[in-house]
Symmetry: C2
């Protein structure tokens, strides 16, 4: 792309909801946009758990960033890993695949890098209990879940078999609840009649959380309905429970009375907390910005870092008014930031503050059951599920992915088919080896 | 599954077309069947190149073996790697994921293990020039092909950029021809408008083969039409050409006059020859069976190994009457073997020899162009393409995969969409590192 003389340069770090919506809002602005992401695709994260449990392929919950932005002639996508930021010289440092350095100067910087999984200071848990933030994570979890049933089938020791049929989920927010429900559905529906030495429906799914109830953020009414639906599905809920240790064959959990119990589990999945990525830490260090306990950066009403009016932080990495780290906040934040930059670049800066319009939240429990909260309206059970379906079809990126997802859901819901589950001896062996070999250094290989 | 007293035990090695069709033909036979595969899925190999170029997801060209055989109550699937065979004690040795040994006794053994890629004694080429036999291979190739355009985009050296935009294919059989056509389509259609510093349609695709013409096995008429269609598509064909060296940045090729030329190419893909897997070599050694140059085992008219009437070899690994290693031969061989075993187990052995009914062959060149040969009938161009479409829809495994493939084809053909192409900096970096780091030992990491 030829440089347009005099045009301002916008660098966006991250192609998630916040970064993509910023780029889209800049379509007709007199700026040159560079969107840097370490993945080539935009991910529709709210459906990632369906990729990790075999319903949807990677291609249905992602869309190539280059394809989404190909008609935006002022946008250039760069596949690179951001390694540092120099706010004084207004430069972003990155590395292309293979390692060579790249540099990007900017007039406006949009830090939409999202968040990573937090193990609350116990990064050594990561190799035993993977989190689920990226497509790569989802594929790891898919192999672990389906591989656990394989290991149970070929186990000769009854204790080993029981262990492989026990799944522990840490964190009862939407991701933990959705994964718990899906694993029970895999066990009771998808795998029915597939095994000869085990009964997959015997699989135990344990859900641990430090709070009072699953989906606490949905309020007591929906939270209670979710808890009842999970119980009916066979998910064993352990609330007021803090995980203090995870190893190759299980975990230690402390309950509210301080009693510590050990659970044997072949599969432990982590959906408990978020932490800022290295790039956010670098920004905090370089700008002196403040951040919350999770490392999220505190911004002003215009989503900029105090003292740096050219650095915006929308999305999950933004800390403002207690807004939650959900897709809707990121989309609206991206649109706001794009508009704000466009106004400034066009010479008539806006002083309108960011205002979030709450469109509600939704979580899928199992086939035919979901909880949805829209303002003062609450939906649960079968009606909630239909609302969930329409909302997710509407928000999925692109017509092709929508129609493909409807088709996959049709076969999953009516015929129990989960066809996206290829794995080999080697891949299941790697899963298994995590539990038997000594940890690598550094401990976090996630 | 409870052992049925007195029932014969059948062990099938491999869940490809030959193994799966053997198991299916044994559905109502009074035998206990154990199907061992190192993958959990049956693969529809004729469409693997569409997985490696982003049109179809893994789930559309595979189906879980357990799901396909769940109603076959006399069949047990085992996810394991076969490590050896003892024909005297009639035992198969294997390892489950993670490494523990397993043993399976048999009364009948069906060796349907298929073939691997052959580098004609140059296994050190494998790390630079991956072959395409499994889903894992296809995903490696997908990252290499799409990653090469990324590397070209971010290259600053013009020579490096040109190298990344050059793709070399070794072998002009169906796989090489189909990959060549797909890469040109990716470059000219899918990636159109996606890049800012390169013109993807500049990508050169070089096709090398030692023979006279591409798709020589289809006969001179169709072969000529295929060559013309490839030329029109922009594929540069180098026939009578032997690849003598492959390294990190290109390959050496000797033409029929003995002249050796070097071609710089960032991506080299191998589709040139087949070799027997270790399990076949073990059988040859243990039984004294004869094999051809490619390691395929010579069998009698009943597809058994001479001197071992209880060991059958159907499929790609079978050497009989010059029959080609194609899906149709494997399906018919599997059905024959299953029937033969059933008759024997029921106490009235059959002496009917295997007879192959040639249903023709087909190769896809590009959108709207294919060559199909059915007996004396030949189809090419647009008509050939429609025949190809109906044949492949008809043979795909299961209604769900058929309707999903039709949907993906619709979007690929009408809107140039290839949505199954997720990759990250790390994954493209691995591709890149293959070209810069010293080879591992053993040399073949493919």
């Amino acid at each position: 792309m030829d440089d347009q003389a005099g045009q301002r340069r916008v660098v966006i770090i991250g192609g998630g909801f916040a970064g993509l919506f910023t780029a889209r809002a800049l379509r007709r602005a007199p700026v040159q946009v560079t969107l840097i992401d370490r993945a080539a695709h935009h991910l529709f994260q709210p459906l990632l758990y369906q990729c990790s449990t075999g319903i949807l392929s990677e291609g249905k919950i992602t869309a190539p960033l280059r394809e989404l932005l190909r008609k935006h002639r002022n946008v250039e996508c760069v596949l690179a890993e951001v390694t540092g930021i120099d706010p004084e010289r207004r430069q972003v440092h990155a590395r292309r695949p293979g390692g060579e350095r790249m540099e990007f100067g900017y007039d406006y910087l949009v830090v939409a890098a999202g968040v990573e999984q937090s193990y609350f200071g116990h990064d050594e848990f990561a190799r035993y209990a993977p989190g689920m933030k990226s497509v790569e994570d989802a594929l790891v979890i898919r192999r672990r879940v389906f591989g656990a049933f394989e290991m149970a089938e070929s186990a000769t020791d009854p204790a080993e078999r029981t262990r492989w049929l026990t799944f522990a989920l840490v964190g009862a927010g939407p991701t933990g609840v959705e994964l718990a429900g899906q694993i029970r559905e895999v066990a009771t529906k998808t795998l029915r009649s597939e095994y000869r030495h085990i009964a997959p429906e015997d699989a135990r799914v344990l859900l641990f959380d430090g709070g009072d109830a699953p989906l606490a953020s949905f309020g007591p009414v929906l939270s209670g309905k979710a808890a009842a639906a999970l119980t009916k599905l066979g998910v064993e809920q352990h609330m007021h429970s803090i995980v203090t240790q995870v190893d190759g064959t299980g975990l230690l959990v402390r309950d509210k009375d301080g009693k510590v119990t050990r659970y044997e589990a072949g599969t432990v999945l982590w959906a408990a907390g978020v932490a800022a990525p290295a790039v956010a830490t670098a920004i905090v260090k370089a700008t002196g910005a403040k951040c919350d306990r999770g490392g999220r950066i505190m911004v002003g009403k215009d989503l900029t870092v105090p003292g740096y009016p050219e650095i915006y932080v929308p999305g999950d990495l933004m800390c403002l008014d207690g807004l939650p780290g959900v897709a809707e906040v990121a989309m609206q934040g991206g649109l706001y930031v794009g508009g704000h930059i466009r106004h400034a670049a066009e010479g008539h800066p806006s002083d309108k503050p960011f205002r979030y319009r709450d469109l509600g939240s939704a979580a899928y429990i199992s086939r035919g059951s979901a909880v949805v909260s829209v303002g003062k309206l609450h939906f649960s059970g079968f009606i909630g599920w239909w609302v969930w379906l329409f909302v997710h079809i509407g928000f999925l990126t692109g017509f092709r992915n929508r129609i493909g997802a409807i088709l996959s859901w049709w076969f999953a819901f009516t015929r129990d088919l989960r066809r996206e589950r290829t794995y080999t001896v080697r891949e299941v062996g790697i899963v298994r080896d995590v539990y038997t070999s000594p940890p690598p250094s550094p401990a976090n290989d996630g």
